[in-house]
């Protein structure tokens, strides 16, 4: 697991208390969102389970003995949802998908890669996109399946690709 550079806020105890002052809180949430995105990106994760997240280093700084409460995490994630950078996967809002790029951006990334590699009008499996040798240097390499699928669906909505079902896997055709 790659080590990320923790921001100064991570060692600042008030960071782990959601601030009541609106202005302060905006800054705080921004810092959190950057940290979360950075962390997930580095660890190649896309989902946060609030119920378990308190054990994660991300929300629990054992050095200063502070952890962000579940409500705090929810507050941050809900704030991220407003900007389209996170979405709950269940109604009880326990499991969240976090997009360090928005779905739109992801879609564009994949499409650009396809165009650049001459994949237009050809079919490739999602497995290829995620695990293939060609995409190792791409950001979406190893991306969470459901996130990738959602990203491709937005792309499909724009008419830039078409998702198709095989027996045991899914594929996509770029136009």
């Amino acid at each position: 697991m790659a080590e990320i550079s923790w921001p100064w806020q991570y060692d600042f105890p008030p960071f782990f208390t959601i601030q009541p002052n609106t202005e302060t809180r905006a800054k705080q949430l921004e810092a959190w969102q950057q940290l979360i995105t950075e962390y997930l990106k580095t660890t190649k994760q896309s989902t946060i389970d609030i119920r378990e997240s308190q054990n994660s280093r991300l929300f629990n700084n054992t050095e200063i003995n502070r952890k962000l409460s579940q409500e705090g995490i929810l507050t941050i994630l809900e704030d991220m949802q407003k900007t389209g950078r996170a979405a709950p996967t269940d109604k009880s809002k326990n499991v969240w998908e976090v997009y360090w790029h928005s779905l739109d951006e992801w879609g564009n990334l994949v499409y650009n890669w396809a165009c650049n590699n001459g994949m237009n009008n050809s079919v490739c499996t999602l497995f290829e996109l995620r695990e293939g040798d060609n995409t190792v240097d791409q950001e979406f390499h190893g991306l969470d399946m459901s996130v990738l699928l959602k990203a491709l669906k937005t792309l499909e909505g724009k008419g830039k690709c078409e998702l198709m079902e095989f027996d045991d896997s899914q594929g996509v055709k770029f136009f």
């Binding site: 806020q9 105890p13 008030p14 782990f16 208390t17 002052n21 302060t24 810092a31 502070r66």
Partner: protein
């Protein structure tokens, strides 16, 4: 025994107490009765028998009218006639119709015996025979009851016991009980009314009393030379202990608002210096203590203080009442505004790295409550941020806004 009546132990009109004796047992003829170890009282009209203490309290007791007695004799008591006579035998005439209910309705005997445990007191015996001989009840009294139709016709029947209790009310049966309860209610009512009249009078007089005392204290002030210093001081202390000095009191003002205005002025005058000392701000509870300590007597209620403080701004006092969002009320110098508080608190935060309300209260020498409010104020103005953990609430300089991202 059927000549006895139950009756409250009260003397009739014209009846007089003669003698009393203790430890007396009554025999119905030769038979023992339940009436033992009682007390007898001999009057000019009757013999009363009751349990010890009943008669002096006027409770119901047995009464035998002397009218019935036509012969008295002593019976020697004890085995072998030792120990002298112990019983008095009273031979009785026939029971009169219409007499009050007694312990027995019929009796085969025409005599009763009074047995004296301690022997017959000769004085008692003599008094009894005299009373029977005197027949005081036969003398016409001015109070002769109109209810006795026989009085005029037959001198023998005139002392009919049933009509003797002229003044005593008949209190038997449920009606009697109800009446006595009613009577009690009436009496309670009366006494309450009287008591409250007294109270009202006292309240009316209270103002005069205050005025008089003030007069006297003024005179003393004028004549300071004539009266020795000691006396003046002592008298003043008396007046003080009565709660009479010259504080702003409700009495001195016509209406509440006048009173509160006066009080507000007083608070403003005395609190300026105090507030300066304590950093320009003080919780209302502390203010209340200070004000009342300063007054010494004539203490004011917290409510009065609050009302007075609300008027501080209207009288243009250099301080005002301030209610924090948390509900805490403080008295605050006008010069001491939020920005000032936030600035100084921020400086303290910077100097200490972080502060808890407790720590700030020690550093700034204010109460914890106020320290907390200060920190909240600072936070509201964006100069501090909070850290809530299991260790409690602490505040830090607001690095979020200062440092950026």
């Amino acid at each position: 025994m059927d000549r006895f009546e139950y009756i409250e132990a009260r003397l009739f009109e014209g009846e007089n107490y003669l003698k009393r004796d203790k430890n007396v047992k009554i025999y119905d003829g030769d038979d023992k009765t339940q009436f033992v170890d009682g007390e007898v009282v001999l009057t000019t009209h009757r013999i009363l028998w009751g349990k010890p203490g009943d008669i002096p309290r006027g409770l119901v007791c047995l009464s035998l009218h002397l009218y019935y007695v036509f012969c008295i004799e002593e019976e020697s008591g004890g085995v072998f006639g030792l120990g002298g006579p112990k019983r008095i035998i009273l031979h009785l005439g026939p029971a009169l119709p219409g007499k009050r209910p007694g312990p027995a309705v019929v009796s085969p005997f025409h005599f009763v015996k009074f047995s004296f445990k301690d022997g017959i007191d000769q004085a008692f015996y003599k008094a009894l025979t005299d009373a029977v001989a005197a027949k005081v009840w036969e003398r016409p009294t001015p109070m002769a009851s109109p209810q006795s139709p026989l009085t005029a016709t037959s001198p023998n029947a005139s002392p009919k016991p049933s009509v003797m209790p002229v003044n005593s009310k008949i209190r038997s049966g449920i009606v009697g009980i109800e009446r006595s309860i009613e009577e009690q209610h009436r009496q309670t009512d009366e006494s309450i009314t009287v008591a409250f009249q007294d109270l009202r009078k006292l309240m009316e007089k209270a103002k005069d009393m205050v005025a008089i005392s003030k007069n006297i204290s003024n005179k003393i002030r004028d004549k300071q030379g004539d009266i020795s210093e000691d006396d003046t001081v002592r008298f003043k202390s008396y007046l003080m202990s009565l709660g009479i000095d010259d504080p702003v009191t409700r009495d001195a003002f016509r209406s509440d608002s006048d009173y509160y205005l006066g009080l507000a002025q007083q608070i403003s005058d005395m609190m300026v210096a105090v507030l300066m000392d304590t950093g320009g701000i003080m919780s209302l509870a502390d203010v209340w203590c200070r004000v009342n300590r300063a007054r010494g007597l004539e203490l004011i209620s917290p409510e009065d203080l609050l009302n007075a403080c609300k008027l501080l701004q209207t009288i243009g006092a250099p301080m005002s009442l301030r209610k924090f969002p948390s509900g805490a009320c403080v008295l605050q110098l006008n010069s001491h505004q939020d920005e000032e508080i936030a600035k100084t608190t921020n400086e303290l935060l910077e100097a200490n790295g972080s502060l808890t309300p407790e720590k700030l209260s020690q550093i700034a020498k204010v109460s914890v409550l106020l320290a907390r409010e200060r920190l909240f104020t600072t936070e509201r103005l964006g100069l501090a941020c909070r850290d809530e953990s299991i260790e409690g609430l602490a505040f830090y300089p607001n690095l979020f806004l200062r440092e950026g991202l």
